[in-house]
Structures are given as structure tokens and as C-alpha cells.
Amino acid sequence: MAGIEVRPSQRLPPCLLCKDCFLFLCVKKHRPMHRSSRTLHLRDLRARMNFKNLREYLAWLYYQYLLITGIYVLEPWEKSIFNSILFSAIAMVVYTSYVFVPIHVRLALEFFLGIFGGQPESTMALMT
């Protein structure tokens, strides 16, 4: 991430994800300007800017977040309100998933294994 080289007047490198083409089902002939993937788009565009260190890159990401949500035009106290609401919502989501997702996953696995594993067991019981 640090020190990404910028080549200002040249075109982007071709689709690095699509080289093997197993992610995008490239049935058509490979086109160098493969722009249909969102991740690729971001990666290419990001590659044009020159970031000296991680801090500058994070500041730019924060700037993008401000622009996309429209918070950029608001006054600082409004920005703080929105950021705190969003942060607390995300924190709640993370906490809930940390607490409950393992339990749900374990129950689901038991349920499905129970269905498929149950058949041979019952036939064995019938035979004995």
C-alpha cells in the first residue's frame, strides 16, 4: 500500500484478477480494458494516486466516505452526530455477530448433519 507508483499519462495495467479468468467467466476474448468489476475499478483508480504513507491513504479514504455519503457539506457538529450514529450501529452489528453467529452456525451444522447422518444410522438400527 505504501508508495504506490503513479504512472500519470499511461493506461492502467490490464485486469490482473482476470488473468486466469476463473472469477469472471471470461467467455469472450480477453479485453485489456476490463472494467466491469467494481474491485478492479477501485484498484485501478487507486493506483493512479501517489500516497506517501499509510496515513495519507487513510485520510483519502475518509475523504471518499465524506463525499459519497454527502457529509462533506455539513458542519462539523453534524458530521460528528452522523459518524457517532453510524459507528454505534456498526459496533452493535459486530458485537451481535460476535456473540450469536458461532451459536447459530453450530446449530445449523448439527441440524444438517443430523438429516444426512441420520439415514445410515436408522437402517443399521433396522438390520440389527
Binding site: Q10, P14, M33, R38, W60, L67, G70, Y72
Partner: protein, 564 residues
């Protein structure tokens, strides 16, 4: 070689068999004889404007317009941004209403609170809560001539754009990509300025009367004859204000019982003039000849709404270049339709006069058509001539009628003499009658600048709307926060741009509009383009999903060969 159906139409003959070959069947049931209807094929909805000219024999050179579709994720995020800002707008209104926060907008006094409300709060919701926050991008005071470079007065605001203070400093030599200065006549030195100075010494600056009473100077007569010669029409008349030309003359020409067919994206002056006239107005889709033809056919077949009497007059109102889209009107097709259905044509060449065409005579010259086909040619002197005002050109009877009946002629002050002289001098330069090649040079420079600028922006990956030959270049921004950010970042890099949002454009299609000028040198354009690219990377504005032409780089071609 037989004449094609379309060229017969241009010559005014009525064609009984259309280009797609439908004929009346044996039992006399008449089938659809439309000029431009084609069977609808399914096309991928990549571009919004599907109107490839079906009759390409009408066009002498390729007509390339593009309006790339908004990417879906951009539209979704734009709506989300507007939603969040609306919520905060409601919050601020709540705080203002309960006096928790100081209110800067107009309010009624406490004694009047129980009366019928004077100020409807919601009407100005958008202005108060969105426009005000990024207001520093508009109304920037200019303190020099608005040529290729301009000086701006520096302002600061301490209460988030509600009030501004001038610091006393001046931002010098800002590259001006916003002024309508297509041929570079906005200058304070040179032949135009000297001539205007002489005329001011002779006539003064004001006229002190309307055109009808004592305001008809000999310089006005000279200017009008020159304008008529420039356009190739019999006679012309000039007015002091371009907006007033449209809004005051359409009511003089149309009345009740007439029909106005107006393009979707026509300028406010045309809309206002049409509404003031009292005629019925029907709107056709932007630059869409099928829609216009359908309206014409319905109008002629069904007549007026309740009585079904024939319409007294049908007027088609279009513009030469649409300034918000950068698109050029499909004039050959409009003229073909006009002749076939016997309607009149009102062409507003505000942006295209002087800017299009090999001789600078506007969109009629650009397509190589006859100016006698357009019934009313209207235009303004503001954009390409560096003056102010508007004109209407046409047949002598029409202009004589307008001289007597136009509201603008009777009640508006006539044009100021130095402005009239500026028009005369600049028009003579464009026509080449001053003895130099300055006019031809400027026209060539403008078209080169336009092509270069559009090509470079397209290669960089921005979404650009409009025709490849139009000097108005809208660059799409979409998101509300990017409107403010773009204007400010460009000013930091010393480039002045105009950004436009709702209500001048549809709500998600906000844009930055560049006006290329003949006064811009290649270096200025390169500086501007570098800054635009930089800001585009910073703000992530390069949304275009078009395939770019392959550059000639060694590793590139090797890679593509390997993949085969």
C-alpha cells in the same frame, strides 16, 4: 440515379411512399406513413439517447452524440447522499423552528404568526439546506475582463456561507473555463474595444428611451442590416436583452388557438415566452424526431382539444446548442418534418451562433442548410460576440410586424451604443470584412480546442455529454457533495469552473460545465486538463465504462497477444 425519398422531402415534395416502404393496402386501410418510425429492435441500454439518425442521407458529416448511462451504483449512492442531506435538513429546520439555532432566512413577525403564512418553509427547503452549504461556488465576484484568464475577489465566510466578507485580496489569473466566450471577444484591448470607446465618446453610454420612441439610433440600423447579412436572411431586429428577446417576442407571434411544440430541455426564456403567449404547449422528448413527428401527426389529425378545429399555427421551438447537455439539434430532420407537416420553426441559436459552422454562421451553416428554411432565427450576442442582447431574423414582413408589435421594442430601453458597436466590429471580424484573418483564425482555433478538449477528457475516463463538435462540455459529477468539492478543488488549482445541480439539471445528474474558448491556448487547456484529471482522481469522478482505444504500449500488446 433516382432521387431518394428524403432528398425529395428536403425539396418540399410530399412523398407518398416512405423510406421504410409501407404502402396503402388493397382494401384502402391506410397504414403508418411516418417519416422516421422504424421497427423497434432490442438494443442494450448502454446509452440513453438511442436516436441514431435513420435518414443519414440528410447529414453531410457524421453526427456523433453520446449520453452515457449513469452507472447503477453511482445512482444509488447519489440518492443515498441526497437522503442523508435531507434528514439533516429536517433536523436543522427543526432547530431553527424551535429557536435553538439562529435563523438566517426570512420569517414572519410574532404578531403575524396566526395569519395566512407569507413564507412557505418547504418551498425553500432545498435552497436553505443544500444550496446554502455550497454557495461559495456561485456568484463569485470578478474584477477583471472575463477573458481566457480572470481575476476573482477573494471571499471568506465565518458562518458557513450565509454571509461573505471580502479579504481585500484578489486571486489573479484564474483560467476561465466558465464564461461564454467562444470566440474570445471578451477583451479590453483590440479593435472592438477601441471602436466601442469611440462610439461612447460620440453617443454616450445610455439611450434614454425605448426603441419605438426616441431610441432608434443610426448605429442600431447599421447593426441590424449587418446581422441580416451575416445570417443570410432578409431582415433582422435586435433587442437589449437575450432573455427578453424570447420571452417578449413569442407572445407577439403566437396566441390562443396556436400550438407550440417545444423541446423538453428548452431554456427558461423560451418556456416563459410560450406560457405568456397563451397557446397550447406540447413537449417532445429531447432531440427525438420520432416523438416530434408523433406530436405533429396527432396535432394535425385531432386539431384543437375540444372543438377539433384545425390549429391556427404550429410552431416548433428548438435550440441550436443546448447548454446543459452540449447536444446539437438535428436540424436537417426538423426541417424535413416542418416542410412535410407545414409547421413553422423557431430556432434559438444562443450558444451556436458564431461557435458552429465553418464560417461561424451557426447551426444552419454547420449542417450546410439554407437559412430560408428556418422561419424565425433567434440568437444572442452575449456568447460569441462579447456584447449583450438578442436578435431575431427572418422575412421582412415578419420583422416589420415585430417592430410594431413586440413588447420588447415598445417598452424596453434600446441597446446601448458601445454594445451595438462591439457587435458590429466583432461581426465584421468574424465575416472577414475588416481585412484581417482574425475571424477565420479564431473559428479554426475554437474548433481545434473543442476537439482536443473533448478527446482528452474522454480518454481520461470521464463521462462527457453531448455532441463531439459542441464547445459546451458537461462533465458528470452526480453526487451532491462532489458538486461543492469539485468547484473548490478547481479553484485551489486556479481554474474557475461552473458547477450545476438541481433544479437546473435532473436531481441525480449534476455536472460541471466547461465552455471552451478560442482565447484558450493549448498550454492553458493542458494546464486545465491536468488539474481536471488530478481532481478527478482525488474525487473518483472517472465513471466511464466505455472501452478506451488501445494505446501503443509494448507490454500491453504483448499481454493481449499472450491471452489469445
Amino acid at each position: 440515379m433516382t432521387e431518394s425519398a428524403t432528398s425529395k422531402l428536403l425539396n418540399g415534395d410530399i412523398c407518398h411512399r416512405t423510406s421504410n416502404g409501407k404502402k396503402a393496402s388493397k382494401n384502402g386501410f391506410v397504414k403508418d406513413h411516418s417519416l422516421f418510425e422504424q421497427p423497434q429492435k432490442y438494443r442494450r441500454p448502454r446509452d440513453k439517447n438511442q436516436n441514431v439518425p435513420h435518414n443519414s442521407s440528410l447529414y453531410k458529416k457524421p453526427f456523433v452524440e453520446s449520453f452515457e448511462e449513469t452507472p447503477l451504483w453511482v445512482a444509488v449512492l447519489t440518492y443515498m447522499g441526497y437522503g442523508i442531506l435531507t434528514i439533516f435538513g429536517y433536523l436543522r429546520d427543526f432547530l431553527r423552528h424551535w429557536n435553538i439555532e439562529k435563523c438566517h432566512v426570512a420569517r414572519e413577525r410574532d404578531e403575524q404568526k396566526d395569519f395566512v403564512p407569507l413564507y412557505q418553509d418547504f418551498e425553500n427547503f432545498y435552497t436553505r439546506n443544500l444550496y446554502m452549504r455550497i454557495r461559495d461556488n456561485w456568484n463569485r465576484p470578478i474584477c477583471s475582463v472575463p477573458g481566457a484568464k480572470v481575476d476573482l475577489v477573494e471571499r471568506v465566510t465565518h458562518d458557513y456561507n450565509w454571509t461573505f466578507e471580502h479579504t481585500g485580496k484578489v486571486v489573479k489569473d484564474v483560467i476561465n473555463m466558465g464564461s461564454y466566450n467562444y470566440l474570445g471577444f471578451a477583451e479590453n484591448t483590440g479593435a472592438c474595444a477601441d471602436a466601442a470607446l469611440e462610439v461612447t465618446k460620440m453617443y454616450g453610454a445610455g439611450v434614454g428611451s425605448t426603441r419605438c420612441e426616441m431610441g432608434n439610433l443610426d448605429i442600431h440600423e447599421e447593426m441590424e442590416q449587418l446581422v441580416a447579412r451575416f445570417l443570410g436572411v432578409e431582415s433582422a431586429m435586435a433587442f437589449g436583452m437575450g432573455f427578453a428577446t424570447n420571452s417578449m417576442n413569442i407572445p407577439a407571434l403566437m396566441g390562443k388557438g396556436c400550438l407550440i411544440l417545444s423541446d423538453e430541455l428548452n431554456h427558461t426564456s423560451l418556456v416563459l415566452g410560450a406560457r405568456l403567449s397563451g397557446s397550447t404547449i406540447r413537449v417532445f422528448k429531447h432531440n427525438n424526431m420520432q416523438s416530434l413527428e408523433k406530436l405533429l401527426r396527432d396535432a394535425i389529425v385531432h386539431g384543437q382539444p375540444r372543438t377539433h378545429r384545425p390549429w391556427k399555427k404550429i410552431l416548433i421551438v428548438v435550440e441550436g446548442i443546448y447548454s446543459m447537455e452540449g447536444s446539437i439539434v438535428r436540424l436537417p430532420e426538423v426541417i424535413a418534418l416542418k416542410k412535410r407537416y407545414k409547421a413553422y420553426l423557431y430556432l434559438d441559436e444562443a450558444h451556436s451562433i458564431g461557435a458552429l459552422g465553418p464560417n461561424g454562421r451557426g447551426v444552419v451553416d454547420y449542417f450546410g442548410l439554407d437559412s430560408k428554411d428556418v422561419d424565425i432565427m433567434m440568437g444572442t450576442f452575449t456568447k460569441s460576440f462579447g456584447a449583450a442582447g438578442g436578435y431575431i431574423g427572418g422575412k421582412k414582413e415578419l420583422i416589420d410586424y415585430l417592430r410594431r408589435h413586440s413588447h420588447s421594442a415598445m417598452y424596453a430601453t434600446s441597446m446601448s451604443p458601445p454594445v451595438a458597436q462591439q457587435i458590429i466590429t466583432s461581426m465584421k471580424i468574424i465575416m472577414g470584412e475588416d481585412g484581417t484573418t482574425l475571424g477565420a483564425d479564431r473559428l479554426r482555433q475554437l474548433s481545434q480546442n473543442t476537439t482536443y478538449f473533448r478527446r482528452r477528457l474522454h480518454e481520461m475516463g470521464f463521462i462527457i455529454y453531448g455532441n463531439d463538435d459542441s464547445p459546451v462540455v458537461p462533465l458528470m459529477l452526480y453526487m451532491p457533495a462532489k458538486i461543492g468539492a469539485f468547484g473548490r478543488e478547481m479553484l485551489k488549482r486556479n481554474i474557475g469552473t461552473v458547477v450545476v445541480g438541481f433544479p437546473a439539471t435532473p436531481i441525480i445528474e449534476s455536472r460541471a460545465r466547461f465552455c471552451v474558448s478560442a482565447a484558450h491556448t493549448r498550454e492553458m487547456l493542458d494546464t486545465a486538463l491536468e488539474a481536471i484529471s488530478e481532481v478527478g482522481d482525488l474525487l473518483q469522478l472517472k465513471y466511464s465504462r466505455r472501452e478506451q482505444p488501445l494505446p501503443s504500449l509494448g507490454w500491453m500488446s504483448e499481454e493481449s497477444l499472450l491471452q489469445d
